[in-house]
Amino acid sequence: MAPVEAIEVLAPGPLTTTQDLGRFGYGRYGVPPSGALDTFSLRAANLLVGNPENEACLEITTFGSRIKALRDVAIAVTGGDLKPFCNDTPFSMWTSSILKEGDTLSFKGVKCGCRSYLALGGGFSLIEVLGSRSTNLSSGFGGFDGRPLKRGDILSARSPHLHLKTEGRSLPQDLMPRYANKWRLRVIPGPQDDQFTKDGRDTFLDSPYQVSYQSDRTGIRLAGPPLERRPDVEESIISEGVIPGAIQVPGDGQPIIILVEIVTGGYRKIATVISADLPLLGQIKPGDTVSFEEISLHGAYEALRQFEERIRHFKEAISAHP
């Protein structure tokens, strides 16, 4: 069916892009994964409105964003609580709701977290580039014309009317993540933890770090006690592939958690955030405090298994009561 106009952007806020679960398989061309930072919230939003989990959503950063419905659509807003309002009424998050034609949804402030995800029943009509509808900001491709959304943009949907019946579908309370401004992230040491001093490794695990305002989708920059590398190793390493969650330490000793817009790097990594905690990285905002806790590879797999199990339960509940 031909796509129909669904929403208009009245204000984009600091950064609103379309993202799905990311672009994989092009690392040898230097193409980073991009994609939603908080993949849990993206998947949940899609499931709530009856989309496939990997459908592209709007990733909305902090506040100031406003959109208008151009027809009746089912939407779900998940992730960080950016105080969404439908016209003048607070809008329920983690629930499928109907926006009536002409309704305006505004994000008015940061209550907790950093990014909201807006799924549209039927999915946004976007062209896949290199296997994904995510926006690559540095090279300007994918998503909506390869750029952040701006005022006046109109996004279309495929068969939005078929999704109106998901209205009222909600995520169970026990699945809802809670976001504070102090974060404890579980990490696996390495790949180059052996190139830091014992003191450097201890400092990393014992100290709280503050999130810098220079953070973006490329990385979360942290400020705190510098991490000491071994005196016999150079400041940088021979560049190598990296993944989101790897924590690199440049010459100044201040760690940076790598996010989704780079695929290679030339600094050593002291540890890597486990997959089960990756979605949290999308909700960490400047000024927050982050500390790290070591976990075994086995522990990481167990955490991920439990995480996926919870999503599976939700999916089963949906298919039992569609």
Binding site: R28, S139, I238, G241, T272
Partner: protein, 228 residues
């Protein structure tokens, strides 16, 4: 040195870094290419991506289907059979460059740094065949080496906030090309009219790891014609 036994480093719960040697060298890098190409050709179930680099490659996998032990076994398996695995030959490309002027704002500084004339710097840069060691930093950016020792130059002390698309630049013993406008710290010698990254093309990059590259000097008028 190329390691007899590869070294494996765990990067979190869904990737393993495989190190083949401890330095930047054409030979180690060719080995990286052979391995990463054969891994992509005979894909293990659960392999998500491979990111090859100078002397290592990163294997990204689905932790529900693979683990570091299976991956290590697979690598040893490939290592035993590597001589018999057919790897496509790398391309050889000649890349046109306008050197100097507004296209290459750092070339005079580079020439002065080495106490040579600009023409000699161009001759040195065009006189070498480079191997593409890896594509990284951003989509389509080729890291190529080795630049002649007599042209090896440190990065700019203050990185530029804007480097135009197609800028051909050097840093230490490497040369590279900026596929799109971006910030960067390399010394810019010139600019090519060729497009390094086109996401709708297959493959999406002009250059791939392993390719051999030679630059040749063109005039500004030719650059403009090439663009059309």
């Amino acid at each position: 040195m190329l390691y007899d036994k590869f070294r494996y480093r765990i990067m979190g719960d869904r990737s393993v870094l495989v190190e083949l040697g401890d330095e930047i060298s054409p030979r180690i890098n060719r080995r990286v290419r052979e391995f990463s190409v054969s891994c992509m050709k005979n894909r293990l179930e659960g392999l998500i991506d491979i990111v090859p680099a100078y002397r290592s490659f990163l294997i990204i996998y689905d932790p529900f289907k693979l683990n570091p032990v299976i991956i290590k076994n697979r690598m040893e398996d490939i290592q035993r059979k590597i001589e018999g695995i057919e790897i496509p030959k790398p391309k050889t490309l000649e890349i046109p460059v306008v050197y100097g002027g507004e296209y290459g704002p750092d070339i005079e500084w580079v020439a002065r740094y080495h106490a040579i004339r600009v023409e000699e710097a161009i001759k040195l840069h065009t006189g070498t065949t480079y191997q593409v060691y890896m594509i990284g930093f951003m989509p389509g950016f080729p890291y190529m080496g080795e630049l002649p020792e007599s042209l090896a130059t440190p990065r700019r002390e203050t990185p530029r906030t804007v480097i135009p698309q197609g800028s051909v630049a050097i840093a230490q013993r490497q040369t590279g090309i900026y596929p799109v406008e971006s910030p960067g710290g390399w010394q810019i010698l010139g600019r090519t009219p060729l497009k390094l990254f086109s996401p709708l093309r297959s493959p999406p990059t002009l250059l791939e790891m392993g390719d051999l590259v030679k630059f040749f000097s063109i005039e500004e008028e030719e650059f403009k014609r090439w663009r059309q």
